[in-house]
Structures are given as C-alpha cells and as structure tokens.
C-alpha cells in the first residue's frame, strides 16, 4: 500500500516542487512597509505592466524618496473594464444618493440623468462628487473609450496641460494629428503611445495562393483570399472600428466630391473583405497568430501585434520571417492609446505623477527600446510606438526595436477628415453588424456563387444585387437620426430597425446567389 501511495504521490510532489524550485530569487524589495499604493485598471498585457511598474518604482523613490506599491486590477478587456468601472460608479453614487435626507428615491431616470449633460441636479451632484471606486488610473484602451469616460465625468482633469505645457506642443505631442485626437483639450485623458493599423500576411500562404502580397485594403478583396482572411469583430473593439473607418475614408477620398459613390465603394469593399473572412474574432490578437501559423493567409491588425508576431516567427525560423506587417499607404491613421485619472482617485497625486512619468522621455523609452539599452526595458520588448514626436530622433531610434518606424511620417499622407465619418463612428459598427456579421453565411454563399460563376464581371446582375445598399451616404444623417430616435424610444425600436436591415441584406444575398447560379 505504501509503495502504491509513493508511486502515486512522488510525481505529484515533484511536479508541485518544480515551479517553487525554479522561482527566481526575488530582488531586494525596493519598497518599505509604509509604501504608498497606486491602483491601476488596465487591459495591458503582463509585459507592459511589469516594465512600467519596475521603472516607476525606481523613479518614485529617486524623486520623492518614498516607495510606492502597485495594485493592478484586471477584469478583462477594454469593454469589460468600462462595464465594470461604470457599474461601480453607479453603485457608489446610488448608495450616496440613497443616504441623503430628502432626496427622491433612486430610479432609472436618475440613473440616466447623472450620466447626461442635460441631467440637471443628479448630473450636477455627480460632477461635484469626490466619491470614487478605489481605483486611481485607467491605463490603455482606445481613444474612443477614454473620450466616452470623459463625457460621463468618470475621467477627470489630471492637470498636466498646466503643469507640463512644454509637452503639449505640435512638435512634441500634437493635440490632433491627421484628424485623430492625441489628448483631451480639457486634460481628462492623454495618449501614452500610438497604434497604426495594417495588414499582416503569411509569406508561404501568399506564395501558395500564387498572388502578390497585399499592400492596400482593397487587396484583401481578391477572390483568391476567399475563406483566407482573418478579421477582428468591430463591435467588440473600438480600435478595429477605427480601422474600418480608415478604409471608408480612404475610399471616399478617392471619389472626390461624389461622396455617395465613395461610401458605396467602401461599404461594398467591407462586404467583400468580410465575405473573404474565415471569421470575425472577438480577440484582435488572434488575427496575427492565425496568420503566423498559416491558418489564415492575411488579416487586419494593430501594428505591434503584427510586428511582435513577425519577430517571434523569425526567431523560431532561424531569422527568416514568415509573417510581414504592412501599413497600407494612405490607408491608415494614427491612434492614441490613452491613460486617465478616475474621479475620486484615492492616490491622485501619485496617479498624476504616473501619467507624467509615462509621458516623460524615460517613460516613452520603455515603449520601444530594445532590452538592456540605456533606459530600456529589462525583460520584455513591447514594440509599441511612443506618442512623443521628439522621440523619433537618431539618438533614440538607434536603441528602438522599430528603428525605421516613424508613424508621424508614415501616416502623414493620410488626411483624416472627421466631417466625413467622425459623427458616424458608432454607426459604422451597426453597418458592419447588419451588412456582414449577422448575415455572414448568406454573404459568403453569395460571394462563393459569384466566384463560381466566373467572377463579378461574368454575372453583373448578381454583383449589382450583391452591391445594393439600403441607404446612400446622403441619407446617412437621416438614418442616424432615426437610429438615435429609436434608441431613445428604447432598445426595442433599435433592435427592430437592425433586424430589418439584417433581414434585407440576407434576402438580397440570397437573391444575388440565385442570380449568380443562373449565370446572370
């Protein structure tokens, strides 16, 4: 029996002992028992958290002679964080409201009112409140998400525009670049690093498909890519919606004054790319991984995902790259990845200092410096691009992992015109959902039938049906208004409207497939 138990337990104990034996010796703690605490909620990965925590602890001790501890809160991706933060703020404000004498009972109306600028007393009280949720900072996520938090009154002015005016100049951090917002003019959020969007492709798969490497968004619509494109779901990530917006802008700028035609070309291009897609994944990082493993030939992704995957692939393949990331020329904007202080931050002073550190030269070096370079990271290379323009100088780029990258130059050819699509940003999501995501099987069946019939030129009627749109660009304002009205009427009206569009698209794709099969 003892022998039996030993045979069973010895491997278990050995396995358990292994991680403990391999656990590296902890460096002497640089923080003392009386250390301050900084609470940060973030979708950033372990690499970013590790490097910024390490560097800021040293900076804090050097500057203030005091220690600081970090508490990272991780509740999921950006959408989960926003939902969590907003729920907690609502609970905190509701509890405060209910504790006040003479206040009317808490209701759905009050819940709506405190979030809206037209919300009267509840809004006024919320904006005056200093009650927080025990979190100091939100670090990471898209500019859209941070701007929404600022509108709600959850992101508050950190005061850096006044304390560090030298950073907020066009030659250091422009307020806008190519129409994109790099920091909030009221100081409620600040871009910490940059992201561009582009195409990643697998060299072997491109060779196998016997086609040229994709260089522009349009290239992803080639018939040869049917079922070979990896896409992320724009309804999940504001950053990917931004990507689609860039594609729309690029197409609309090509047709000059004929905006209706530009819009139609763009939406139909999205439809064909979606028809070529293998899936719309909820995880944007899956796209370059699938391309690297050759399960997709190409995909749309954020620059640092593509570059990191390319580097890792080359490392495994004796220095030869398998995946390449390209920024479509005149087809991508520059997005900021911001940071903000939360209302009622328990350690506001340290939170502001952390933002200042991230925006300082020392902080900016961490984003792209190689390992063991002066001021660079010590464990992980991040491959993110610094937001400060003055970082792209020879004395810095010689230490950078992406030494040749200068996003301000690369994307300068692209002129983002916010008037064209800015107000329709959320609406783009609805368009992709109703035209491509919901009716995806029918969309793909129609495209397959068109391709089987010899391509769009051979079956013009089918292609015309495929390309039909329920509304033109000139009608967008009215449609947007209807959508807003339906939203105000309640979720149901909006759902009904979306169902009608999806159903119309499904019927249209079925008809297009039928026409293609008939050779028309």
């Amino acid at each position: 029996m003892i022998k039996h138990l030993l045979i069973a337990f010895v491997p278990l104990l050995l396995l358990l002992a292994l991680p403990f034996a391999l656990k590296p010796e902890q460096p002497p703690k640089i923080t003392g028992a009386d250390a301050e605490k900084l609470v940060i909620i973030s979708p950033h990965s372990e690499s970013i958290r590790f490097e910024f925590e390490r560097a800021f602890k040293i900076h804090y001790r050097e500057k203030f002679g005091r220690d600081i501890e970090f508490e990272w809160r991780n509740v999921g991706g950006t959408a989960d964080i926003i939902r969590y933060v907003n729920d907690r703020f609502e609970a905190t404000f509701r509890e405060w409201w209910q504790a006040q004498d003479g206040f009317e009972p808490w209701s759905l109306e009050i819940s709506k009112a405190y979030k809206s600028d037209k919300g009267g007393k509840p809004r006024e009280l919320f904006l005056k409140s200093t009650g927080g949720i025990g979190i100091d900072l939100m670090f990471g996520g898209g500019q859209y998400d941070h701007s929404k938090q600022a509108e709600l009154g959850i992101a508050v002015d950190a005061g850096l525009l006044r304390s560090h005016p030298e950073w907020f100049k066009p030659e250091v951090i422009p307020q806008q670049f190519s129409g994109e917002i790099m920091y909030d003019p009221q100081g409620r959020y600040y871009g910490a690093c940059l992201a561009t969007f582009g195409i990643c492709y697998n060299i072997d798969r491109i060779a196998e498909l016997n086609t040229a490497p994709p260089q522009r968004w349009e290239d992803l619509s080639r018939p040869v890519f049917y079922q070979n494109i990896a896409l992320a779901d724009p309804t999940k990530a504001g950053s990917i919606t931004k990507c689609f917006e860039m594609l729309i802008q690029e197409q609309m700028q090509k047709t000059g004054d004929n905006l209706d035609q530009g819009w139609a070309n763009a939406v139909n291009l999205i439809k064909v790319i979606s028809a070529n897609a293998r899936y719309f994944t909820d995880s944007a990082s899956k796209v370059p991984k699938d391309v690297a493993s050759a399960n997709a030939a190409a995909g749309m992704c954020i620059d640092f995902y593509g570059r990191s995957e390319a580097e890792w692939g080359a490392e495994r393949n004796g220095g030869v790259e398998r995946i390449v990331f390209v920024s479509p020329e005149h087809g991508t904007s520059l997005s900021a990845d911001p940071i903000h202080v939360l209302r009622g931050a328990p350690n506001r002073r340290a939170a502001v200092e952390f933002i200042a550190f991230v925006l300082s030269e020392d902080g900016q070096k961490l984003w792209n410096y190689r390992l063991n370079t002066p001021g660079g990271p010590v464990k992980y290379v991040m491959r993110r691009l610094p937001i400060r323009r003055d970082m792209y100088t020879p004395e810095n780029t010689r230490y950078m992992a992406d030494a040749k990258a200068n996003p301000y130059e690369e994307t300068s050819g692209f002129i983002y015109n916010p008037k064209l699509t800015g107000r329709y940003f959320s609406f783009i999501r609805v368009v992709v959902k109703c035209f491509a995501l919901d009716p995806m099987p029918e969309l793909q069946a129609a495209w397959r039938a068109i391709l089987d019939a010899g391509g769009p030129e051979k079956v013009p009627q089918a292609m015309a049906k495929f390309n039909e749109l329920p509304f033109s660009y000139s009608e967008l304002a009215q449609i947007q208004k209807e959508l807003s009205q339906s939203r105000e009427q309640g979720a149901l009206a909006m759902l009904k409207l979306q169902r009608e569009w999806s159903e119309a698209c499904r019927a249209q794709y079925r008809a297009a497939a039928q026409l293609a099969k008939e050779g028309k």
Partner: protein, 556 residues
C-alpha cells in the same frame, strides 16, 4: 406529508444557497432582458431562431456521437478482462485534463492548414483540407465536443454497469435469451439512471457550449450570439433575453430527457449486491477488446499530444513532428513570479468548490430521490440550471451581485479576497455533476437496505452515514473528481472575478502569460502542460487513495 423540523431546516438552507448563489447572480444579469417585447424579438428575428435550431442540432448530434464513442468501451470494460485494461481505462479520461486557451493551439497544430494531418495528406499526394473552416464546421464542432465530453457518459455508464447484478443476466441466459435481448431487456433498463445522468449532462452541455463553436467560427448558435452580444461595446438587452430563452430551452430538453430516460420505476435494486463477472480474454480477442479504447483515446488525446510537443518545441510548422526541441518555454513559464501563487490559489478555490459541491449535491440527491417533499423537482432543476447558463453570464452575475448589493459586498468582495466568491462560483457551475452522480447512485441503491437499518434501530443519520454514503461513495467520488478537475480549469469565473495578481488562479495566470507578445502562447502552453500533468497525477493519486472504493466501481 408533514416534514420533520430537521428536513425543513435542510430544505431552507438549500433554498437560501440557491437563492444567493444561483438566482441572484442570474437575476443581476438577465433583468435587462426581462421584457416581454425583447423576449418576443428573439423569436421574431430568424437569425436567433436559426441559432437556437443549430444549437439543438449540435446538442443532439453530439449526444449521439458520445453514445457511439462511450457505450461500446464501457460495455467491453464491464464484461471482459484483458491485458492493459487499467491503462486504457485511465487513458479514456484524458479529455478531463485539457487546459483552456492553449487547447486551441493543440487543435491548430493537428488540424491547421500546415498542421499534422494536412502535412500527411500532402505527403500522400492529396490536397490540404480546411478542417477549421468551410462547410464541415458543423461536424467538426460536434466531433470535437463529443471527444471532449464522452468521459462524463463513459464514467456514468461504468458506474451503472458495475452495479448490475450478473445473476440477472445469468438467469436470462439460462432462460434462453440471446446477447442482444439480454442487453436490451436487462442491461439497458438497469443502467438507465447512469445513461440519464450522463446523457442529460452531455445534451445540455453541448446545447450551451460556447468555446468550441467560437473556436471554429460557427457563429449562428445561441451561445455565440449571446457571447457576441454581451461583449459588444454598445448596451444591448437582447443577449440577456436570449439567456432566458436558452435557459427555458435547456429546461425543456432536461424535462424531455427525464420523461424518456429518467423514470426509475424499473430500476434495478442491485447496489451492494453486484459482483464481477468479467470474462478473461487472450490473444486476438484481447487485442480486439483493446481497439475501441485505443481509437477513442488516441482521437481524444491528439490535441494533448500536440500541446505537449508544442510546449517542448522551438518550431513546429508544416511538418508532422517538431523540428527542434527546447526547455525554454517551461523555464519561462514555471519561473514566472505569478505561477506559484496561482497554483496555491487554484488548489484552495477548487478544493473549497469540491467540498461545497459534495455537501449541496448529495443533499439535493437525497431530497430528490428519498425525501421527495412537495415540489422537490424544483431543487433538481435548480441544481441542473448552472449547466444551461453560459459561464460568462454567471461570472458577470456574480460580479454584478457584489457591486449592486452592499451587504453581499461586505462578505464576498472579490477585491478584498475572492476565495469564498470563487469557491461558490466554481461550485455552482460544477454542482450538476455531483448531483447527477449522487442521484444515479441513490436510484440504484435499494431502499430496502435503509429500511432494514431503520428496523434494526439505526437513526436516519446513522443509516445515512453507515449504509447510504458507503454505497454511493464511488458515485460521489466520480462527481467530486469532475468537480475538482473542472474547477481547476474553470475559465469565465476566474477571468472575471480574480482581479488582483495575488488572487489569480491557474487559468487566469495562463491567460496572462498568453498575453505576452510573441512567445506568450508557447509560455502559456508550457504552463498548460504542467497543469495537465498535475491534474493527471492528482487523478492518479485520488485513485491510489480511494483504491478499493473506486476499484470496486471501476475495477481499476
């Protein structure tokens, strides 16, 4: 019937447990969808109706495949002795230890465009097949789910078969009944509780499974529609209404299964009387008996083999086997600062969950099969309900509950310490396994034995302790093993409820490691393999401890 005060107290405690840890979290989330008009919208939209129909198709096909996979080996195991029997039986449990996130990596290495199977096809001069996409997605989803879920049915059938009195088969044979007749007239009716226990779990699990269709991009199924809706940036009440529809449909499926399989009026009263009648096989017959186990285990174990190889490989691309091996990923994973803490945390959460599952699950089983007070079916349904709710909904529900109810936040705040909350969350999700296993055990245990104990003057508690529990201990052990190992691999609750690194369980640590750019997936894979080995050793150690008890059931 008037309930005794003690039973009243137990029922009240059960009701409170279900109210706080099941009803409240679900209500916290689905209240947004509790609108008749929004509910009606689910049925007006053909895309959602189609989703529901596809979910049903997946559930039915998967269950049929699982029966085809699990029943023959279980029968062979019960009837024959052959060389390597213990080993193949253990190998049949492989799917129970597949770690999350990185499991997909294993599938990609096998079924990917440049994966093992396609490389072999190209080697044979055949074209590559798009296993992960294209038209065959539906079947791939069903097959992969079946290969993951069959141990539940296999173990339940084995448990039931072990308690079929061989004398009954013997008697039938003496009366001239053939093999098929004995199987359909004696064995099948007698193992019905086991078939019901395992079959309903699989039917409902596959009906509400999210991960597999999501991995294959087979999106027009209800769970994926719920997931996509709930993770949208815009607020949308429809996914919450879809949860209610899914719950109702799952309850309907359960009711139909109960009607077809769950009536136990002819259940064999054999527990405690069965003996082994396995026939010894030699030469080619032993090999033939070995074959179904080998085929099923190999098919189910392919992703595991791929995972292990991936964790040790530097590069594996367009080749049948990896080209270069390394220990780098293990070194990076196991030396990471968050790993040791996560192991200790996972053990704490999972053990707590297992204990809660055992207490609540066995109590529910006794209420349902023995006490049968008015409305006892409600407890049965409540204990099965967690199976019908996507993990992410439950996780959001627990979070939302602690945010919105200050009195619960005081005791269950995940930021201060998520031990109790995660333990309860894991437990509620794993409760169906323990309840069903205990119910099956009790249904096969003759009430006469308990009556005899009472007649001899034993109190209810003594009868329970000395007669009932020992007789169903093997069933309980099976349920507990499922509860423990699936808790160790639980994803949704771990990701949503463990907010601080000091409280991360293993799955959250794997997720975090996977997020490291570049080699992250490989590092996570190495830690996943460690987890797999740890679970395998735990199951083996449990087998060693429970040796005789489990042996009498599984004949390990």
């Amino acid at each position: 019937m008037k309930l005794k005060p003690m039973r009243m107290l137990v029922l009240s405690l059960l009701a409170v447990f279900f109210f706080i840890f099941l009803i409240m979290p679900i209500y916290s989330v689905v209240k947004n969808g509790l609108n008749p008009e929004v509910l009606a919208e689910c049925f007006r939209n053909p895309i959602y109706l189609e989703g529901l129909l596809n979910s049903l198709k997946i559930a039915l096909v998967t269950t049929v495949i699982v029966f085809a996979i699990a029943l023959p080996p279980a029968l062979v195991y019960d009837r024959y002795e052959f060389a390597g029997k213990k080993l193949v039986n253990t190998l049949m449990l492989i799917p129970m230890i597949l770690p999350p996130f990185v499991g997909a990596l294993g599938f990609m290495q096998i079924f990917g465009h440049f994966g093992v199977i396609n490389t072999m096809l190209v080697g044979c001069g055949l074209p590559r097949v798009d296993w992960l996409g294209g038209e065959g997605r539906f079947w791939m989803v069903c097959i992969i789910e079946a290969l993951h879920l069959y141990p539940i049915l296999y173990l339940n059938i084995l448990t039931a078969l072990a308690n079929v009195d061989p004398a009954m088969n013997e008697a039938a044979r003496n009366l001239g009944a053939g093999r098929w007749r004995r199987f359909t007239k004696i064995t099948l009716p007698m193992i019905r509780p086991g078939i019901f226990a395992g079959g309903t779990l699989i039917l409902i699990w596959s009906f509400t499974e999210l991960g597999t269709p999501l991995m294959f991009g087979y999106n027009r199924v209800t769970t994926v529609q719920i997931f996509n809706g709930i993770t949208e940036l815009e607020t949308n009440p429809l996914p919450y209404a879809l949860v209610i529809v899914l719950l109702a449909a799952a309850a309907g499926l359960y009711a139909v299964s109960r009607l077809l399989l769950g009536q136990s009026n002819t259940v064999a009263m054999t527990k405690g009387m069965a003996g082994s009648s396995a026939k010894k096989l030699k030469s080619w017959r032993a090999l033939a008996a070995f074959a179904p186990f080998a085929v099923v285990s190999l098919a189910a174990g392919l992703p595991h083999i791929a995972l292990v190889l991936t964790a040790f490989t530097k590069d594996w691309y367009s080749s049948i086997l990896p080209r270069e091996f390394t220990l780098m990923h293990f070194e990076n994973a196991l030396s990471h600062h968050m790993v040791t803490g996560s192991i200790v945390n996972s053990l704490k959460y999972s053990l707590l969950a297992m204990i809660i599952c055992l207490i609540v699950g066995v109590t529910v089983a006794i209420v349902v099969t023995r006490w049968r007070p008015r409305g006892y079916q409600l407890f049965d349904t409540l204990s099965m309900m967690p199976l019908a709710i996507p993990g992410i909904i439950m996780a959001f529900g627990f979070l939302s509950m602690t945010v919105n109810f200050p009195f619960l936040r005081t005791y269950l705040d995940p930021i201060k310490n998520p031990l109790v909350l995660l333990g309860m969350a894991y437990a509620i999700r794993r409760l169906p396994y323990v309840t069903r296993a205990a119910c099956a055990g009790l249904e096969q245990t003759p009430v006469d034995l308990e009556e005899a104990a009472h007649n001899l003057g034993a109190s209810s508690w003594t009868t329970m302790r000395r007669v009932v529990i020992p007789l169903i201990s093997a069933n309980i052990a099976v349920g507990a093993l499922f509860a423990f190992s699936f808790s160790m691999l639980e994803v949704s609750d771990s990701l949503i409820l463990a907010h601080k690194e000091e409280f991360y369980p293993i799955t959250k640590a794997i997720f975090e490691l996977a997020g490291i750019l570049g080699p992250g997936a490989w590092i996570a894979c190495a830690f996943g393999v460690w987890t797999m080995a740890f679970l395998a050793c735990t199951l083996a150690a449990a087998n060693a401890i429970l040796g005789k008890k489990m042996g009498s059931l599984f004949r390990f």
